[in-house]
Symmetry: C2
Subunit: 91 residues, 2 copies
């Protein structure tokens, strides 16, 4: 779920990812944490960023948000485009 200051949003509950972000800032002393997601998980990435900032770490700011498109192979082996987001939080 998280490595080198990045938290990848999947299908777990949002609180899992909120805690992962808080852990990176508080326990691992990160100055910057990147929340990354693709496709439908993009909305949850924004939820996580907003929940961290509004309820837990009110001094954390959004430094930058990047969107993009990845090409992935779906179950049928077809290459499809999927949107991506990266929300960079900083302290």
């Amino acid at each position: 779920m998280s490595d080198n200051n990045a938290v990848y949003i999947g299908n777990k509950s949002i609180m899992n990812y909120v805690l992962a972000v808080i852990t990176q800032f508080n326990t691992q002393g990160a100055k910057e944490v990147k929340i990354k997601a693709r496709g439908k998980a993009i909305s949850r990435a924004v939820d996580v960023a907003e929940m961290v900032r509004n309820r837990f770490l009110t001094d954390v700011k959004v430094k930058e948000i990047n969107i993009g498109t990845d090409k992935i192979e779906n179950e049928d082996g077809k290459v499809v485009n999927v949107s991506t987001i990266e929300i960079v939080l900083t302290r």
Copy 2:
């Protein structure tokens, strides 16, 4: 769906919104178009921005992306937080 250079993402098909953005740039001569969405529609807002930029108006750039939280009243009259996104495209 769209007013004063803003396109609000709802439940229609993505192409509706892609066309709305293209119309604002091409027909109404807008220099800037804002794609706005809340909750689960946030992922579709990113899809629309990426589809416009990759397939239709390749000179359009992402100027800025803002996220936030709105407080809305749900069907039971309870006030809940919902995430928001605003993607500012520019030419």
